[in-house]
């Protein structure tokens, strides 16, 4: 099957159209999609959810299920048309010449089989490799995906590994057959940032080492910038712009691409002087696509009578390398014009301290065995001496990866859990020991929360209006139903949704709209403090900006204190006044945004900053990849919590890091850091992110 002398493009997709056939009729998922992947090239496929990028990947694998069908065009792999191949021929290709890596690693691994067996199966099936040789190869590949102790790895079951390790195994499995084409469908979305950085680094190196071509599917432009040579931006089933990374990032020629870049917080964006510009409107549903340009209704350059006339073809951008755009007007638009910032605002002055957390500890007791609870009790230290102060109208960001204790902190603040020790003061009332049931109405209304998952935040059984009115009833707002009804409609106005939404059920709303309702609900009782737990991370890029701006606007007007929990440092830098970095229940660094984002850093902050992909070609980043995974809170390391992964541990004399928990040191006014590094070492630190080209 192998054709080593083939030297044309690895993958050629020409005018591909894929439709799904459902009860409602034919739904076109991909229309007129073309792209070419040359040997050794990494092609990025970028777009929001529902744009058809995963469907393209499944089309290449010829795995569209019962309802999906290729209705036009061709997919050529090494010159052979995949559409014409028989099931047997395809089976020989899949997993050997074309390999796919999915988002959820655990779903790709068989939980009942040892890792080694699963890896060895690949060459044994495709190449009839003898078992001994397959084992050696597996050992080799596991080593090359940089997993520690490969022999033990091969002997373990998937559930014994962490998420990052599992994804590395999935990549190893894809590499077992030395494929010519690797399809990665959001391979890091389920992982933490620092773990993601490791995988991205690995994927990049593997491409160079084995010369594998890659199709990298992602919604994250920064990630594509780091991994790919070329990219293709998709919108509503169509490719709207394709070209090399440099061309598309710096000389974009499609309004949608431009809109995307303007709606993500890049370094330099600022909530007051340079706010994000959201793309207006919503993503069209497949059966509601407009005539002519799909992006037309949301486009600022839209010209009636021209853009909505008929299908628009891809057109080459003259002078660039294979750079094309699906826009009629790209020659006429002034692409360098700076956007008009409509709502420049002044920095809001922070008021007096409103929320104070003092040396808060939260421990959970877990019995060693569920059956015989008499056994030894283990303690999970979810929060270890957390102290913070938040002022009125201020945004305090709490940054950290999963398991760092940020959600536990939120639970204690909201009264869903009580603190083990330490105090929480809201306006000088102690609330740390008061369960939510014992709090009075005012306190409950004063501290509210915006949840992360828009699909989970509203009860699918009740109408929007009823859910908001219930909140108002609980907060004893108004004297009559009419009062509350009126306030509910005003709240809908506040979050810029039509009043008719009051009668709708959550399933009739898009993710962004649901999140707006979540915000309306949190602000219903005029709260003093709002805890926002990753409120936009599950939303699409173009919607993120709009929801973020809305949140900022409401906060500015109501002078609410906001605790913004996130792992995304780009957005934190954009909107927060002060930042607190947490790791394994400890606050490792805190200070104003400027202080935290500039050296000296805590080594963890430094790694975190380096790990977050930034979609800007003018940014130079230091590459710091952390070893291993976050330790379990059940069994934290001795001494400094970060010592197991710290790249700067070697700079501290002796075994201080392993034996002693570093004290909280104050570096500058308000800037605190929990680290053993000497002042001289800290002073030597260089900034992680440098903007090279001046704009």
């Amino acid at each position: 099957m192998q054709t080593p002398d083939y030297d044309g493009p690895i993958l050629e997709i020409e005018n591909l159209s894929i439709s799904f056939f459902t009860r409602a009729g034919e739904i076109p998922a991909v229309m007129d999609f073309s792209c070419t992947v040359q040997p050794g090239e990494a092609m990025g496929l970028v777009g929001e959810s529902g744009c058809g990028k995963s469907t393209v990947a499944l089309g290449v694998m010829q795995d569209l299920g019962k309802a999906g069908k290729i209705v036009g065009g061709s997919i050529k792999f090494k010159g052979r048309n995949l559409n014409d191949m028989s099931e047997d021929e395809l089976r020989a290709l899949r997993g050997s010449e074309i390999a796919m890596i999915y988002q959820e690693p655990m779903a790709s691994l068989n939980p009942a089989m040892k890792i080694g067996r699963q890896l060895m199966e690949v060459p044994m099936i495709h190449e009839d490799m003898p078992e001994k040789q397959a084992y050696d190869l597996a050992l080799d590949v596991v080593e090359s995906v940089r997993l520690p102790d490969p022999k033990r790895m091969l002997e373990s079951y998937p559930h014994q590994l962490s998420g990052g390790q599992q994804q590395r195994i999935v990549i190893a499995m894809a590499l077992m057959s030395k494929p010519s084409l690797l399809i990665l469908d959001e391979p890091t979305t389920a992982l933490d940032v620092t773990v993601e950085a490791g995988i991205v680094d690995l994927v990049k190196n593997l491409g160079e080492k084995y010369g594998t071509s890659m199709l990298f599917i992602s919604h994250n432009l920064g990630l594509v910038l780091e991994t790919c040579n070329r990219l293709c931006v998709m919108y509503s089933g169509e490719a709207v712009e394709t070209g090399s990374i440099a061309d598309v990032f710096d000389k974009m020629r499609h309004p949608y691409t431009q809109g995307l870049f303007r709606s993500i917080p890049l370094p330099g964006a600022d909530k007051n002087s340079r706010p994000l510009i959201a793309i207006p409107g919503n993503f069209p549903l497949p059966h509601e696509r407009p005539q002519g340009c799909n992006f037309g209704p949301r486009c600022t350059y839209f010209e009636a009578g021209r853009c909505d006339k008929g299908a628009i073809q891809m057109a080459e951008v003259a002078g660039d390398d294979r750079h094309a755009s699906r826009c009629l007007k790209f020659d006429e638009i002034d692409w360098d014009a700076q956007p008009v910032v409509a709502n420049k605002t002044d920095k809001t002055e922070a008021g007096s301290v409103c929320l104070r957390v003092d040396d808060l500890k939260k421990y959970y007791e877990v019995s060693a065995s569920a059956l015989f609870s008499g056994g030894e009790k283990r303690v999970v230290k979810a929060n270890e001496s957390v102290s913070l102060e938040a002022c009125e109208a201020e945004t305090l960001a709490i940054v950290g990866e999963s398991g760092c204790g940020k959600s536990t902190l939120a639970k204690v603040l909201l009264g869903l859990e009580t603190a083990t020790s330490g105090g929480v003061l809201l306006d000088n009332n102690s609330i740390g020991d008061t369960q939510i049931e014992q709090r009075d109405t005012r306190t409950v209304a004063d501290i509210q929360m915006v949840f992360q998952n828009p699909f989970d935040t509203l009860n699918p059984s009740h109408t929007i209006g009823a859910q908001i009115i219930r909140v108002l009833e609980k907060f004893k707002f108004g004297n009559s139903n009419a009062d509350r009804e009126q306030k509910m409609l005003e709240l809908l106005d506040l979050v810029k949704l039509p009043r008719a939404f009051a009668k709708r059920k959550p399933r009739q709303l898009s993710g962004g709209q649901k999140q707006r309702i979540g915000i309306a609900r949190a602000f219903a009782g005029g709260p003093k403090v709002v805890v926002a737990d990753e409120p936009v991370s599950a939303l699409d890029v173009s919607v993120q900006a709009a929801v973020t701006e809305l949140l900022m606007d409401i906060q500015r007007e109501s002078r609410t204190t906001m605790l913004f929990i996130s792992h995304d440092l780009s957005i934190v830098r954009y909107l927060s006044d002060r930042v607190m970095v947490m790791y394994l229940g400890h606050v490792v660094e805190s200070g104003t945004t400027e202080q935290v984002f500039a050296p000296p850093y805590h080594p963890y902050t430094e790694a975190l900053l380096s790990a977050v992909p930034i979609a800007d070609t003018s940014v130079q980043k230091k590459n710091i990849v952390l070893e291993g995974d976050i330790p379990s809170a059940m069994n934290p390391p001795s001494g400094c919590p970060f010592q197991t992964r710290c790249p700067r541990k070697k700079n501290v004399a002796g075994s201080l890091c392993e034996t002693e928990l570093p004290p909280m040191r104050t570096l500058a006014d308000g800037h605190q850091i929990k680290c053993h590094l000497s002042q001289a070492e800290l002073d030597l630190m260089e900034p992680v992110i440098v903007l090279t080209a001046a704009e």
Binding site: R439, H462, V471
Partner: protein
């Protein structure tokens, strides 16, 4: 008079069921017409399996409703001439044909089958409904609180589930036990739970609006009390509702069915309580019963409706089994299980007496299972 031919019998049966045919056509036609507005029930009409199931269930439900018109004779009256006579034999005095023949006591098999549906349709759905409420009322706290509450309630449920059902029924329905206070005591507990359930639902939802609360709570309490006193025979001047034997059967069915419902509700609750909207209601200070009844329960309704359909089927079989063992509603009644048992004795000679009730049980249960399948299939879509 000449006996009826097979064709005539067939035609006669079809004609007798006329009200049922009309009812099915009207109900299904109207539902299919308005299916856009009927959510899950409306979508049932996209599934052929579900429609067949619904038609079968409707057939028996309407048969029970129009039993008086459909049945040709009194199901309890014995005609000596009809004794073990084959289908199509005429009863000379009235000149009416026994469409499906006569049984060993000379009663009309057709009419007995038709009247048998009444017993089933009276007890199976209502008992399942009460069992559902009991199961929900126990399952919600078990799943929501977990810990000791869960351990205790689950142990109780397992205890009931582990006890052999038929033996339990023998115990509950035997005259010795029936004369003790046990059935009444059980009934007074079992029927109290649905009333508490409704009151808890109303109160937890409306206590924030004291002005409207009493408009709902007061009628609920009064109706609940009225039904309660009647059902447990504390105060039953009108003599309607159930007789003592029927009550025993009813309570026993609820008693053995609710633990199964309990388990389903408990599992669903444990899943749903991790959702953000439950956390959202906790953070605005809602009480546990509001969260359980208004945040969690409505989102568990899909699987519960499907389960209820299946469970009505099981209850139908259970009632048949009880009747077969002579534990039926009353020894004389036209209960399907009891009819099968009587027909069984002469099955080899006269199969026509035992077959119709057996087929009736089969079609009803099949219909309920298909209906549940259709509902499940449709609720899983989108």
């Amino acid at each position: 008079m000449e006996d009826l031919t097979t064709g005539q019998i067939f035609a006669g049966v079809i004609v007798q069921f006329t009200p049922v045919w009309i009812g099915i056509v009207v109900i299904m036609g109207a539902s299919a017409y308005f299916k856009q507005r009927l959510s899950l029930y409306g979508r049932l009409f996209d599934s052929p399996v579900g429609m067949v199931g619904l038609a079968l269930v409707l057939f028996w439900a309407l048969t029970a409703l129009f039993a008086d018109q459909i049945a040709t004779m009194d199901p309890l009256e014995q005609f000596r001439v009809l004794k073990n006579k084959p289908p199509g034999t005429f009863e000379p005095e009235s000149g009416i044909a026994a469409l499906l023949g006569g049984d060993n006591l000379g009663r009309d098999v057709f009419s007995r089958m038709v009247w048998g549906s009444v017993t089933v349709m009276q007890i199976a759905p209502t008992a399942t409904l009460v069992a559902l409420m009991v199961g929900i009322t126990m399952g919600l706290p078990a799943g929501y609180y977990g810990g000791y509450v869960d351990t205790a309630l689950s142990f109780l449920a397992n205890l009931v589930l582990a006890f052999p059902v038929i033996l339990l029924f023998y115990l509950l329905v035997t005259p010795e036990i029936r004369s003790t206070v046990i059935p009444t005591a059980m009934a007074s507990v079992v029927f109290l739970i649905p009333i508490l359930f409704v009151i808890a639902m109303i109160y937890s939802k409306l206590y924030t609006r004291p002005d409207t609360l009493w408009y709902f709570l007061l009628p609920a309490v009064l109706i609940g009390l009225f039904m309660y006193t009647h059902l447990i025979n504390v105060w039953n001047p009108t003599g309607v509702w159930l007789d003592a034997n029927g009550l025993n059967i009813f309570v026993s069915v609820v008693f053995v069915t609710s633990p199964a419902v309990f388990r389903i509700v408990r599992g669903l609750t444990m899943d749903i309580k991790t959702r953000d909207y439950v956390a959202a209601s906790q953070t605005r200070g809602e009480g546990p019963w509001y969260i359980m009844l208004w945040e969690i329960l409505p989102n568990a309704r899909g699987p519960l409706i499907v389960d209820a359909c299946l469970r009505i089927g099981y209850t139908t079989i259970l009632l048949g089994t009880l009747g077969f063992f002579g534990l039926g509603v009353s020894p004389e009644s036209s209960d399907w299980g009891m009819t099968i048992n009587e027909g069984r004795k002469l099955l080899r000679l006269f199969p026509h007496a035992a077959l119709p009730p057996a087929l009736a049980i089969m079609t009803l249960v099949l219909g309920l299972n298909l209906l549940a399948d259709g509902l499940r299939e449709q609720s899983l879509k989108d």
